[in-house]
Each structure stands twice: as C-alpha cells, then as structure tokens.
C-alpha cells in the first residue's frame, strides 16, 4: 500500500468492576494512558472515533478535544476492526494526521443484559421471537455451534479446549480478569447457558476502556515506541438475512477479507506469528480459523484440540486471554495485545520473534487486520 500507517500508542484502564467510572471516564482514562505511552499530547489528536461511548460531543467536552475529524460508532464488537480500518483511511487520505480511537464500556456496573426484554442483537427485530423464548447473541452462536457439530462432528471437548487454552494464557497476564486455569472436567461441569454452550463458552462482562493512537509510518518513526504497522487490512459483510445464522458460518466474507488483507500485507499464513481472534463465544473462534484459512472447512475442532493455539505452538492465539478470560473489550483489547506482542512487551506471555499478528473477527461484518513489525 502507498503510505504506511502505524499504531503508535496503546492504553487501557484496569479491567473488572469499576462502578465509579462511566463509559466516558473509562474512555478518557484509556486515552490518557495511550497518549502517555507514545509521548503525544491531547492537542496532537486531529481525528477521533469513539466506540460504545454514548455521545462524541460530550466525550470531547470532557476530554477538552477539538479534533478536525470526529465520528461515533455503535457498541458492537465488529466496530473495533471497522474503526481501525477507517482510521488508516483517514490518515492515508490526509483527513487527519493523528487519530485516536477511544472505547469505553461500563457494561458490568451499568447492568447490561445480553438477552431478554431489552435484547436488540441482530438487526433490531429480536422482539419478534421472544414469544418462542429466542433471545441473546449467545443463543445465536449456540445455534451456529450446534450446526457445526452436526455437520462436521465438532465436539464439546474441542470447544472447551479453546476456552481452557485462553485461560492458560490469561494466567500469564496480570491485567486479566479471570486467571485461574481450569480443566476440561471443570468445563463440562460448568452450567449450560444455552446448550451446547456452557458458561465457559461465553465471554466475560466487565468494565474497562481501551484507546489506540494511529499515525503515518513517517511520523511514527519519531515517537517513543517502536511503530507497529498496519500491513494489511480488509473488510467484507454478510448483512442480508443476518437476523438468522449464516449457512456458511460467514466463510465467504472471511475469505474475501483474508485475501485482501494478506495481499496488501505482502504476507501469507506462514509468516504469521500469532492470532487475535474475536472470541465472544468459543464457536466463533472455530469459524474464524476456517474462514481465514488457518485450517480447512470443518477441521477447526480437531485443529484446536491438537493444541495449535497455545503459547509455544504454531499459532499462539489470544495470548492475553481474550474476551473469554482477559476482558470483554469487544475486540479493542485484542488489537492492543497484537500491538504489544509485536513490540515485544508481553512479558511471560511474549511470542518469540513476533513479526506478524493477525486480528480477525467473524460476524456479519468481517474485519481482518495484519499487524507487522516492519514497514514493508
């Protein structure tokens, strides 16, 4: 790609229960942390996109910001990738030189529910099916998980191994909310929420905030931290009929986004050192591995059970613990982890010689971002 773009600052709050902070304050806390990380000032930000924070005007008022470009995005996990790709386009087009992406989530203390009367998951028509008891993103993914099990023989053990692996990673991450390792027996013993999914197949609900600062590769070289380059990225959607699970587990849009991002990264799967996979529920990890080409269709179950996602294995995945164990920051903390892995700043959970990290999200809007240590 013509002009390079890099992440130069990452910041986050503590994760967990933070009842004294609202979403604005969590976002600002993270933004202060990200600016301190890269040595930039609030005045240097000329582009801002807020995510899950209810109002951009109020946020700017609280933060004392007058960016040239400002936008706001809804609190859906797919938007972390969208915002990052949009920030790169703003920088490439000269609309903004330094873009701050700010996410704040007080869902735990705010009492957010992901099912029942207030549920708007899908395209907003959820209430139509309440009479049959159908509700929640968890049930949507349980339907997809069951279908994968029936079609390909995927097992509960295989889903459990995803969750167990990420917990082992979280045990090495002091910032993670859930750090106590568990066995597959513990997994089986954990209660069903929506069968075939157990409690341990579900992501956490916690408070926190994350901020990323992006700028051109050229500016990035003068800053404190080693730049982490957005070597490739791509998006694709499957929005028609998306009130219902897709027949292909979003394989078609994932293939499209993967091809695009690998092509503009000038890299292949063989070059990738670590994966950050959007893990709202364990089945999503399986769908992503297949859709983004890390294993063949239907083979993700055995692939994860063979241990390929563990630290020290071929594709260490969600080395922070992910949404399942670190923090439910809707993709943002996974992107922060990608940057920190490439910087070599991950301590005990550091992936050796980490040159490329692939962030991917399987959803009706698919995003794929390949971070690289080198500018080209």
């Amino acid at each position: 790609m013509s002009q390079s773009v890099a992440v130069v600052g990452v910041g986050n709050t503590r994760y967990g229960k933070l009842p004294d902070y609202d979403a604005y304050e969590l976002g600002l806390w993270a933004l202060k942390d990200a600016l301190a990380d890269c040595g930039l000032r609030f005045e240097d930000i000329d582009g801002l996109i807020v995510n899950r924070i209810p109002d951009y005007q109020r946020f700017c008022e609280i933060a004392g910001l007058n960016p040239s470009y400002v936008s706001i995005t809804p609190g859906q996990g797919r938007f972390s990738g969208i915002c990052i790709e949009t920030a790169a386009a703003l920088i490439r087009d000269g609309i903004a030189a330094t873009v701050a992406l700010v996410y704040g989530n007080n869902g735990r203390s705010g009492g957010d529910r992901y099912g029942g009367a207030g549920d708007t998951y899908g395209s907003g028509g959820g209430g139509l099916w309440f009479a049959y008891g159908m509700t929640s993103p968890g049930a949507f993914h349980a339907l997809m998980g069951r279908r994968h099990m029936e079609l390909y023989g995927t097992t509960a053990e295989e889903l459990g191994s995803v969750s167990k692996t990420f917990r082992e990673h979280a045990a090495l991450n002091p910032a993670a909310v859930m750090r106590t390792p568990f066995t597959l027996a513990d997994y089986h013993a954990s209660r069903y929420i929506c069968e075939p999914l157990h409690l341990l197949d579900y992501c956490l609900i916690n408070d926190g905030g994350v901020a990323l600062i992006l700028t051109s590769g050229e500016r990035a070289r003068d800053l404190v931290q080693p730049p982490v380059y957005l070597r490739g990225y791509g998006m694709a959607t499957a929005l028609t009929g998306s009130s219902f699970p897709p027949d292909d587990f979003w394989r078609a849009p994932m293939r499209k986004a993967a091809e695009k991002s690998f092509a503009n990264a000038g890299a292949t799967h063989a070059d990738v050192s670590a994966l950050m996979i959007y893990d709202n529920f364990t089945p999503t990890v399986l769908f992503a591995l297949e859709g983004f080409g890390y294993c063949r269709e239907g083979e993700s179950g055995p692939f994860v059970a063979q241990g390929h996602l563990k630290l020290g294995a071929r594709y260490p995945t969600n080395t922070s613990g992910g949404h399942l164990s670190e923090s439910y920051m809707q993709g943002w903390a996974l992107n922060a982890e990608a940057v920190r892995q490439i910087r070599g700043a991950c301590g005990e959970r550091q992936v050796e010689d980490c040159t490329f990290v692939h962030y991917m999200a399987a959803a009706p809007v698919v995003t794929s971002i390949i971070y690289g240590r080198d500018p080209s």
Binding site: G116, Y132, G133, R191, I193, E195
Partner: protein, 133 residues
C-alpha cells in the same frame, strides 16, 4: 407473564392467519420472493408491491439450541428453540413439539402446529412431519 408477540403491527396478517390455522407471509409481486417479517420493500428487487400469500405449513430444521438460563418470566427452562426454513424459503425461530432435542437433526422435515396461547394469539410451532404424508 410470558412474552407475547405484537399482533397489531405490520405483521397482523401473519398472526390473523395463524389463528385460522394457516401460514401467510408477504410475497413480492414483482420477483415472487417470500419474506417475513413484513417490510415495505423487497430486499431482492426493492419493489414495493406485495401481497400476503398462504404458503405450505412445512419446512426443515436448520439447527437448534436448548435454553437453560431463563431470560423471560413465564417460560420455564429448559426449553428448545429451533431454526426452521419453510419450504417457501422464509426462515423462522420456533419451538419443536413432540420431539426431544436429541432426536432433532439438520434437515429434519417438520410441519406446523398451531398453538393458542391466549384467546387472541396463536404461535407457529413445528412437529416432525409424518413420513407417509
């Protein structure tokens, strides 16, 4: 009280038909695509013309899940939700009747069961289709 559907809105013809033991959904008068819930425009050809057509009350199971966590008062857990594709192509969420979750399968042929839950409201549920039919 259990959650009830809004039967007076744009989907009223669907709910009225269930009461009369029939399944009616919108059909695009331009391209013939069936759709539910109601929409002004056809998502295939964006045409505005439609009528409510009676369709075959049969389809196949695409997937299922079993709720163990209760999200609604008046719906006792565990209960099963099925994802059904009607033969006309419209997809629905529903509940199976007379079949345990372990006996469900992808592609299982099912037919409508009309379940009156109040004097005004009938739900569209499904039971395995009799192979001889």
């Amino acid at each position: 009280m259990r959650p009830l559907p809004v039967i007076e809105g744009a989907d009223q013809p669907f709910w009225r038909a269930l009461r009369a033991r029939a399944v009616r959904v919108q059909r695009c008068s331009n391209c013939g695509a069936y759709r539910f819930p109601a929409a002004r425009f056809c998502a295939h050809c964006r045409s505005e013309g439609f009528d409510w057509r009676e369709v075959a009350p049969s389809g196949t199971v695409e997937s299922w899940c079993v709720f163990h966590r209760a999200y609604f008062e008046g719906l006792e857990v565990p209960y099963t939700v099925i994802q059904v594709r009607l033969d006309c192509g419209v997809r629905l969420f529903s509940n199976p009747i007379g079949v345990e979750p372990h006996a469900l399968a992808i592609g299982l042929p099912v037919e409508a069961v009309f379940e009156d839950i109040t004097p005004e409201i009938t739900l569209l549920k499904f039971k395995p289709r009799n192979p001889s039919q």
